[in-house]
């Protein structure tokens, strides 16, 4: 296979960046997209050039490291896959491909196709957990979870935090990621005590990071390597609304509680 690549090259976060044209010959349809880039990099290094930086690790579609926008679609034309699991047989011989990094204010480019996704980690640090001390867990069978609920929670929990949803969203929203996390824990009985607090804290952090808002374009769902449904976005919205409209952080059952707290009882 012969390919013409226009790859985004950017030396550092502060560099302006530009597209550089590369011709790749002898690509095989059995190669993964990343192996095709490996081949390009080998040629670049051997000719004394600088290889293209791109993130990757497990190369079996689960670690969530890799990702790039190929001809305007996050992770390329195949859909429902990561680029490490995208194979060249999905492209035509002689194809012209524009390869760009995830573009988002919250994901500054580190180099070439590598971006800083630590914003997603900070959202998790704000509330993406169940506060259980090591060793204080009760016997596992004291917590029953119906099969349907467990499966649904698992559907959400499969999120790899790769950021394709943000990259694909016309608004640069991180709502599918946040919704998957809120729903995973919010669905399970273990996650109930912190459900309201979690939804609020995670959404607040999401906003602080500078992501856009969800307009229900459904682009995220279409590119998600784990095909996570936007139904979880509805669910997370519901949790957030419930938390915001009926729950107060300063909830207290004592006499003289403020009006704010009262809302807590009115539900």
């Amino acid at each position: 296979m012969r390919l013409t690549l226009y790859i985004w090259r950017q030396k550092s976060t502060t560099d302006k960046g530009r597209f550089v044209k590369y011709e790749v010959e002898n690509a095989s349809p059995e190669m993964s997209f990343l192996e095709m880039l490996d081949m390009l990099n080998r040629q670049l290094i051997e000719r004394g050039g600088e290889p293209v930086a791109f993130e990757h690790d497990c190369r079996e579609g689960i670690c969530g490291c890799c990702g790039m926008v190929i001809n305007g679609i996050a992770n390329g034309p195949a859909g429902g896959t990561t680029v490490c699991q995208l194979y060249m047989r999905h492209f035509k011989d002689g194809a012209v491909l524009y390869i760009e990094p995830w573009r988002s204010r919250a994901f500054p480019v580190i180099k070439d196709l590598v971006v800083d996704r630590s914003a997603l980690d900070r959202i998790m640090q704000a509330g993406g957990f169940i506060s259980v001390r090591t060793g204080s867990a009760p016997e596992a069978h004291t917590i029953l979870v119906s099969k349907e609920t467990a499966e649904l929670a698992m559907d959400a929990a499969e999120c790899t935090g790769c950021g394709a949803c943000v990259a694909a969203c016309p608004n640069g929203a991180a709502m599918l990621f946040v919704a998957a996390k809120i729903s995973h824990l919010g669905l399970l009985p273990q996650g109930q005590p912190e459900r309201d607090r979690r939804a609020q804290a995670m959404v607040r952090q999401m906003d602080r990071e500078g992501f856009g808002g969800c307009s229900n374009h459904r682009e995220c769902e279409a590119v998600c390597p784990k095909r996570i449904s936007i139904r979880f976005i509805a669910r997370a919205n519901r949790d957030f609304l419930r938390a915001s409209l009926f729950y107060s952080k300063s909830a207290s059952g004592k006499a003289g509680a403020t009006g704010k707290t009262k809302r807590c009882f009115e539900k």
């Binding site: 226009y6 960046g17 597209f19 926008v69 001809n71 305007g72 679609i73 859909g79 524009y98 760009e100 573009r103 988002s104 204010r105 919250a106 694909a168 016309p170 608004n171 640069g172 929203a173 959404v203 607040r204 999401m206 906003d207 500078g210 992501f211 856009g212 808002g213 969800c214 307009s215 229900n216 374009h217 459904r218 682009e219 769902e221 279409a222 590119v223 936007i230 139904r231 976005i233 509805a234 669910r235 997370a236 919205n237 519901r238 949790d239 957030f240 609304l241 915001s244 409209l245 107060s248 704010k260 809302r263």
Partner: protein, 217 residues
């Protein structure tokens, strides 16, 4: 911070405001459309509908006030969200393709602005009469038939109906998501609901200028 302010500051909060005000505006649009359709029954029926409207001034002004507030909030939230969304991607993609996002969803802000602009024109045209050459204050039937007799104006009204339909095609679906209304029981109907009602609104409103233009009235 007060909880309302804090809630509104969040993106889902703004979207909630957009969704709720959108529902209010949609309800008004439906009522308005049903009223407009009276014209097909004849001048007397339309005048009867208009008299009904003015029968309870308190109710009328309440509705107008609610509408004004809803429209204002809808616009403010839309502008704020759009600014935010545009700002979330300072460097744009050189090549952009969409897999799911349709024309309606991607043009919400444009159709929204167009509808707002048309709304102002429509008020000046049919309510205040300032841009209506043959405006007679109390004769709605006359104002409509004479106002829409001019083909460019009439076509503008048809186009506005279509744009409104496009806006609702996404809005009426999106509102379920934003308000957290999702369930396997009715999820498959959400799209159909939005499609049907956006069509109804487009046809309902569009039928009046078309009818005037085609001299069937």
């Amino acid at each position: 911070m007060h909880w309302i302010a804090e809630f509104y500051r969040s993106t889902p909060g703004k979207k909630f405001v957009m969704a709720v005000t959108g529902v209010v505006l949609f309800a008004y649009v439906l009522l308005h459309m049903v009223g407009n359709l009276q014209i097909h029954l004849g001048p007397e029926e339309l005048r009867g509908y208009v008299r009904l409207r003015y029968a309870a001034p308190g109710l009328l002004w309440t509705v107008r006030f609610v509408l004004l507030v809803a429209a204002t909030l809808h616009v403010i939230a839309a502008v704020q969200l759009t600014v935010r969304n545009r700002g979330s991607r300072p460097v744009r993609y050189a090549v952009r393709r969409y897999r799911e996002a349709d024309y309606a969803s991607r043009t919400m802000i444009f159709t929204g602005v167009a509808i707002a602009a048309f709304g102002v024109y429509h008020l000046l045209h049919m309510t205040f009469g300032s841009v209506h050459p043959e405006f007679i204050r109390s004769d709605v039937y006359h104002n409509v038939t004479s106002g829409l007799h001019v083909p460019p104006v009439s076509l503008l009204y048809v186009a506005a109906s279509a744009v409104l339909g496009l806006h609702l095609y996404h809005g009426l679906w999106s509102v379920f998501q934003t308000l957290g209304l999702s369930s396997p029981i009715y999820d498959s109907w959400r799209r159909a609901f939005a499609t049907v009602f956006s069509l109804v609104v487009t046809l309902g409103f569009g039928s009046v200028p078309l009818a005037v233009l085609l001299r069937t009235l």
